[in-house]
């Protein structure tokens, strides 16, 4: 599909992840890996634990058991800060933008970790602070161009329609220049044209920037079209893993989606 794209080695390895909220088991001993440059999809019925899985990887939830290996580094307890430092970025299912800030400022926050000027330099717009601000602005403008949102860069995100907000959410994650990008239902609630645009952005990010992508999506057409490998979860357990075609033919997966034939 992508021609020359080379899938590399495993960069993210999840080993025996279990997560429970009180007595409710959200994830049970899940293991799977993600290879460099690939698009990896996580699918499954509602409540299967897909979002919990992303929350574990990005350090929002702490699993009771298991280990995350990212770029050879072992994380028994990931937290959001460590994840961001390591180069893991994500978007949210129900958009979590900073409503009071402009599109530009929202995407600029994505570069926080790269900005080093101290408080006094910032207060007086002193040399380093000013230079840094301008350099990062130039980078952010590249992302704005890429996502074709130049016309709304000064608009507060609260005023934008849903589809554009999703794009800004992606832009903020891209601003971190992540090694791996986790997308939580990037196309939920979109119409066909918006889905096509978003698919194109995801493929371009993967292709041009070489970013590895893990995505959760309900639209099977999209998943089967753009992903290299698919993990299927149901009731917090892994029931399938493999290429889109293999997963589609897996009887357990068919049963989870269509119900058992009695």
């Amino acid at each position: 599909m992508m021609g020359e794209r080379v899938i590399g080695d495993v960069i993210l390895d999840l080993r025996n992840i279990s997560l429970a909220f009180g007595g409710v088991k959200a994830l049970t001993e899940i293991s799977f890996d993600v290879r460099e440059h690939e698009i990896r999809a996580i699918i499954g019925p509602n409540g299967a634990g897909k979002s919990s899985m992303l929350n574990v990887i990005s350090g929002v939830y702490r699993p009771q058991q298991g280990e995350i290996v990212f770029h050879g580094e072992h994380f028994a307890r990931m937290n959001s800060y460590k994840a961001a430092k390591a180069g893991i970025a994500r978007t949210f299912q129900n958009i979590a933008l900073f409503k009071g800030m402009s599109v530009l400022d929202n995407i600029m926050t994505g570069r926080t970790l790269m900005m080093k000027a101290n408080l006094l330099q910032q207060a007086f717009w002193w040399g380093p602070a000013r230079r840094e601000e301008l350099a990062h602005r130039a980078k952010v403008e590249e992302i704005i161009d890429f996502l074709e949102i130049q016309h709304i860069r000064k608009t507060p995100v609260g005023r934008l329609p849903y589809g554009l907000q999703k794009r800004v959410d992606l832009g903020r994650a891209l601003a971190m220049e992540p090694r791996i990008l986790l997308l939580d239902e990037p196309m939920a609630g979109m119409n066909v044209e918006e889905k096509q645009d978003m698919s194109r952005f995801i493929l371009d990010v993967n292709d041009q920037m070489g970013t590895t992508i893990v995505l959760i999506e309900h639209d099977m057409g999209v998943v089967m079209d753009i992903s290299d490998r698919v993990v299927v979860l149901d009731y917090g357990k892994k029931i399938g893993d493999g290429s889109p075609d293999a997963v589609r033919a897996n009887p357990e997966v068919i049963q989870a989606y269509l119900g058992a034939s009695h």
Binding site: S58, A96, M101, T109, A123, W125, E133, L134
Partner: protein, 358 residues
């Protein structure tokens, strides 16, 4: 028709990131500064300086501080009065206990002491938010009210409990007359307001706003809530502390703890809410509203009464003042819950299109 930005093209990001990107705004700001630095001192009476201008400037500074915390970082505080007190008493102690402590040094050290206290009393914000945080900051208020009243060391064992300071000077320039005090406060305010604006448009300001708007998402992009919240408390308390020191040294010159009671905390919070949360300019509007309006009403009501043939007693004037003031606050909050600053920016957007509304 005059307020148009047609033809003003930005060719660099530096030009686009200016505080006032529109040429007309820059001229208006320059004009305002000229009026404030030259016009007002030439034209005003001593009464105006003492009753309006100096309190307005100092409370604007405090309101900016509170706005950085409440408006930008979304952490509510009811302890602003206490941080003003910490700033004032710390500056007082530094200047009487250390020989030759310059005025500016004492003010800044007062501010730094308040910043340290801000970090201590802001620590609960890491665990609680909203009304519960308001309670925690209220504790700071009660604690410092008590401390400055009862611990004699802070007041240098003054028998009456009130402390005073005199013979202010900055590098040989005396700060004695109302005009000198006014100019001193104005200069400080201009520098501090500019610094606050710079902070809010750079990385630290974006971190504060990110924590305010969506803390989970902020953490995921690598913002540490502890750093963001405590730095907001520190910077905010620094501003409020310097304002407190100015209030004591320059405005009152002798004061007791009651000058920084819980009423002051509420007053500052109201300024921020009425002026506009998350707006430096809003802090000025809020301070003007709270400081100037009561005096204005006080002067206007008897005059209006005479106009319709009524003579209003002094007591009635002061009652009416409270009632009208309260009603105006409610009116403003209903018409524009985002404060006067939002009204101002909506007005500016309309003006850009006027007289053709589309």
């Amino acid at each position: 028709m005059i307020y148009r930005e047609n033809g003003q093209f930005k060719t660099s990001y530096a030009a686009d990131q200016q505080i006032f990107p529109i040429v007309q705004d820059r001229w208006a700001m320059l004009l305002l500064l000229v009026v404030a630095f030259v016009g007002v001192p030439l034209l005003s009476s001593e009464y105006l300086f003492r009753a309006i201008f100096i309190p307005f400037l100092i409370l604007s500074l405090a309101a900016i501080g509170v706005n950085l915390l409440v408006g930008y970082c979304g952490q509510i505080t009811l302890g602003a009065g206490a941080f003003m007190a910490v700033g004032a008493y710390a500056a007082y102690n530094f200047s009487i206990r250390i020989d030759g402590m310059p005025l500016l040094g004492a003010l800044l050290l007062g501010g730094l002491s308040a910043a340290a206290m801000g970090i201590v009393f802001g620590a609960p914000s890491l665990r609680v938010r909203g009304l519960y945080l308001a309670m925690a900051t209220l504790a700071a208020q009660f604690f410092w009210d008590w401390a400055f009243l009862r611990i004699k060391w802070f007041t240098n064992d003054a028998p009456s409990g009130s402390v005073s300071i005199s013979h202010l000077q900055v590098m040989g320039w005396p700060i004695e007359s109302p005009v000198e005090k006014y100019l001193f406060c104005l200069t400080l305010l201009a520098v501090f307001a500019l610094a606050a604006k710079n902070l809010t448009r750079s990385s630290i300001g974006r971190q504060w706003m990110a924590i305010r708007d969506m803390d989970v998402a902020a953490e995921v992009i690598g913002i540490r809530p502890m750093f963001a919240k405590l730095s907001a408390f520190a910077v905010s308390s620094f501003y409020v502390g310097v304002a407190g020191a100015l209030w004591g040294f320059v405005h009152l010159s002798s004061w007791e703890p009651a000058a920084f009671s819980v009423d002051r905390s509420f007053q500052l919070l109201f300024m921020v809410i009425i002026g506009g949360m998350g707006s430096i300019m809003g802090s000025f509007f809020g301070a003007a509203f709270i400081v100037v309006l009561p005096i204005f009403l006080n002067q206007m009501l008897p005059w209006l009464g005479e106009l319709v043939g009524l003579s209003i007693s002094t007591a009635a004037v002061s009652h009416a003042e409270f009632m009208i003031f309260g009603a105006l606050i409610v009116f403003f909050l209903i018409v524009e819950p985002h404060g006067i600053a939002r009204l101002w920016s909506t007005g500016k957007e309309k003006l850009r299109l006027w007289p053709f509304p589309h």
